[in-house]
């Protein structure tokens, strides 16, 4: 006997093993907790239950009670309460755990159900795994291996349906492969709040389509591709680019806004092929926005900076750094930091600013928030700058103070870390007055006019951490190597501090985090290595009074009503 469960837990029995599961858990999840897999297609943990694929059929039994006296009926053979097994199988996805529930997933009847469902699903399936992008991560492929008969008894003509329908700008549909699970339909309605998908016709003629005159073009359309258990919905961008089994997965963070959606970067031999969401129930569930999935294109973009240069001519890294150091040593430096830098880079920027006694400003980027996974603050790490003490107030969108200081002749040089000063409101005339040291990944107006340009790495080419809108410290790893000759950003910043005459600081994550933990109070207990995949929630109360621009998102509610109005 196992100990009586806590009040919010119920004990169920999966294949003869007792296990306590939270109340309201359905049988698929209860079996998962007991390390038993119940194959399923239409059930998705983050969507409502539809119960239409019938793959999850299991046998279910309940403890027997005398109808008249309500006393348990005991089985004399075992001395335990008798179990009344239902004569027919039940779908596990739509049945919630109740006390004493018994589930059998390995009986011949259950295996028979799975075999038959698989055979029916494959009747009209085109079996084009060799050209299907889902091959390798396809549930139908996996379950057919386990429950398929290996040959077809179907002699009639297979159904023919459209093979390459453009459902929207980013999603291509192969109707023949669709198993009508309705996951995509439910996602569009429930999560994306854009109810455009639906089925027309009946029986084996059922076809997934968009509502007439509409397109699947919301910013979350590619999530339907992720959750489609088969290869019916495919990403037009990733279509036919690479088979998934060649791709290496690296955990990363979406940098398009302060939501910090957890992502998986899929790369092969230094090239990124796609970005998909990584489950984090406290941040993004299993979703992410389409706009964040194309960010990898900046890695090989035509405007990528790959060369150290002084006044437009290529220079050796050491020479460029020495030149930058000379400019910084001259004093009266203004630093424009970035809400797109990682926590570690912001810490090193703070160290540089402290040493040079230079004022630091950040540039704010604001766009409309969509209340799901794109927030109004389009910088991923403004809170990181607050936590590390790089800045103490929220940044403005325009660098008016810096502009005034340049006009007044108080600034001798400007160090910009990835920020386009022209876009942030400085005029060409103002930029001409002061030498600019620009660290960045992409060419822009500022890099064109800068005195010294030092190339840096994109988020995919380095490791570090960001602090998202919930003050959750989340780490990202390096997916692909940076361009040849470009140093890691932490090394670049540490060298810049040395070149400016400052102290020599650690530039590897492990050693740097020891310094950060010692100097930054809110991060005192953190090391990069012990940060878990789901992140660490920091205490945001010291900054609670600041007027953050974000409105509500999926797992975030603004604390103050001021922010909610934005």
């Amino acid at each position: 006997m196992i100990a009586p469960p806590k009040p919010d837990l119920v004990t169920v029995n999966v294949d003869g093993k007792d296990i306590a599961v939270p109340k309201g858990t359905n049988m698929i999840e209860a079996a998962r907790l007991a390390s038993v897999e119940v194959p399923h297609y239409c059930y998705h943990p983050k969507l409502t239950v539809a119960g239409n694929c019938r793959m999850c059929l299991v046998e279910m039994g309940l403890p027997a009670v005398d109808p008249a006296t309500k006393t348990p009926i005991m089985d004399p053979a075992t001395g335990k309460q008798k179990i009344n097994w239902m004569p027919r199988p039940t779908i596990a996805c739509a049945t919630n755990a109740s006390p004493g529930l018994h589930i059998r997933t390995n009986t011949p009847a259950v295996v028979d159900c799975r075999n038959s469902v698989t055979e029916f699903l494959l009747i009209n399936h085109p079996l084009d795994c060799p050209i299907c992008d889902q091959a390798g991560e396809c549930k139908l492929q996996e379950h057919s291996t386990a429950y398929g008969r290996g040959y077809s008894r179907f002699v009639e003509q297979k159904n023919v349906k459209p093979k390459r329908t453009q459902l929207g700008p980013r999603v291509t549909l192969d109707d023949e492969r669709c198993i009508l699970c309705s996951r995509c339909v439910r996602f569009s309605k429930e999560v994306a709040k854009d109810d455009v998908l639906g089925f027309i016709d009946r029986g084996s003629y059922s076809t997934l389509t968009c509502y007439p005159g509409r397109k699947l073009e919301n910013n979350y359309s590619l999530n339907t591709v992720d959750i489609c258990p088969v290869g019916a919905l495919t990403s037009t961008d990733f279509r036919f680019k690479m088979r998934v089994w060649f791709l290496k997965q690296t955990p990363s963070i979406d940098t398009e806004s302060s939501v910090g959606a957890n992502t998986e970067v899929w790369s092969r031999e230094g090239s990124i092929y796609r970005i998909t969401p990584r489950q984090n129930d406290a941040v993004n569930d299993t979703w992410m926005a389409d706009s964040g999935r194309i960010l990898y294109k900046q890695v090989k973009a035509a405007d990528r900076l790959v060369e150290y240069s002084i006044e437009g001519t290529a220079a050796l890294p050491a020479v460029a750094l020495a030149k930058a150091g000379g400019l910084l040593r001259a004093g009266s430096v203004a630093i424009v930091g970035s809400g797109r830098s990682s926590v570690e880079e912001q810490f090193l920027t703070r160290k540089l600013a402290e040493y040079l006694k230079a004022p630091v400003t950040l540039v704010s980027r604001v766009g409309p928030g969509d209340k799901i996974l794109v927030s109004a603050d389009r910088n991923p790490n403004v809170r990181g700058a607050l936590v590390t003490g790089l800045v103490s107030s929220l940044p403005a969108q325009q660098l008016t103070e810096l502009a005034a200081a340049i006009d007044a002749g108080q600034v001798k040089s400007v160090l910009s870390i990835g920020e386009d000063l022209t876009a942030a409101g400085l005029t060409a005339a103002q930029l001409a007055k002061v030498p600019v040291v620009y660290l960045g990944t992409q060419r822009n107006a500022t890099s064109e006019s800068a005195q010294v340009v030092i190339p840096t790495l994109t988020v995919f080419e380095k490791a570090g951490t960001f602090v998202n809108q919930q003050f959750r410290l989340q780490k990202f790893a390096k997916a692909v190597p940076g361009p040849a000759g470009v140093a890691d950003d932490l090394a670049t910043l540490a060298q810049l501090i040395t070149a400016a005459g400052g102290p020599t600081l650690a530039s590897d994550l492990g050693a740097l985090w020891a310094i950060i933990a010692a100097e930054v109070k809110p991060l005192a207990t953190v090391t990069y290595a012990n940060l878990t995949a789901s992140g660490l929630l920091l205490d945001g109360t010291p900054w609670a009074a600041l007027p953050f621009v974000e409105g509500e998102t999926l797992h975030f509610k603004p604390a103050s009503p001021v922010a909610a109005s934005a």
């Binding site: 085109p126 795994c129 060799p130 050209i131 091959a135 003509q157 297979k158 159904n159 023919v160 093979k163 390459r164 016709d201 003629y205 279509r239 036919f240 680019k241 690479m242 088979r243 089994w245 060649f246």
Partner: protein
């Protein structure tokens, strides 16, 4: 303990050596008249038996169409990683091929890496890659030893097909099953 072998003294005939020379000449002379077992390579080439595992090649179907759909299974299975494929989409303006949807944009086999194991032929779901009777690959540079797509089709030529899978698919699509 030393072991002494008693040697027989040679007989007169043996001491003359003549019978031995005659026996040797007999073997030599026999080979003068017996048929050749070597050949004048490279002017003469051996007949290659069926099932020989020569250079891997890409083949076309009897209608001269590419069979490979760039599924990259051969690239995956190849033990020494000799195969390198860039998949591509077949444009919709090829009436007899558009429904195949996928084909290789580039297909390279590095013959300095290939170990002639035949796993690529075994794994191919489209029967598009075969190790045929080409056994001699030479070149002056490393680049010459990489067979690109054009060269692979040139080496492979056309093989008979039993399935005509894509023709059947096309016929089914044209027949339709609409209500």
């Amino acid at each position: 303990m030393p072991y002494v072998i008693e040697r027989k003294p040679l007989t007169l005939l043996e001491r003359l050596y003549i019978p031995q020379i005659i026996a040797g000449m007999r073997v030599t002379l026999k080979h003068f008249v017996s048929p050749n077992v070597t050949m004048e390579y490279p002017e003469q080439r051996p007949a290659i038996p069926a099932g020989y595992r020569g250079v891997p090649t890409l083949v076309m179907d009897p209608n001269g169409r590419e069979k490979c759909v760039s599924c990259q299974l051969c690239e995956f299975v190849c033990p020494p990683k000799a195969i390198r494929i860039t998949p591509g989409e077949i444009p919709a303006d090829q009436p007899d091929r558009a429904h195949v949807e996928k084909g290789p944009k580039a297909f390279d086999i590095d013959m300095l890496r290939c170990i002639y194991c035949g796993l690529c032929q075994e794994v191919c779901p489209e029967e598009a890659i075969f190790l045929q009777n080409q056994y001699s690959m030479t070149g002056f540079t490393r680049a010459e030893m990489v067979n690109d797509k054009a060269r692979l089709y040139e080496l492979g030529g056309t093989l008979p097909d039993e399935h005509f899978k894509w023709d059947k698919k096309k016929a089914a699509a044209e027949h339709g099953n609409a209500h």
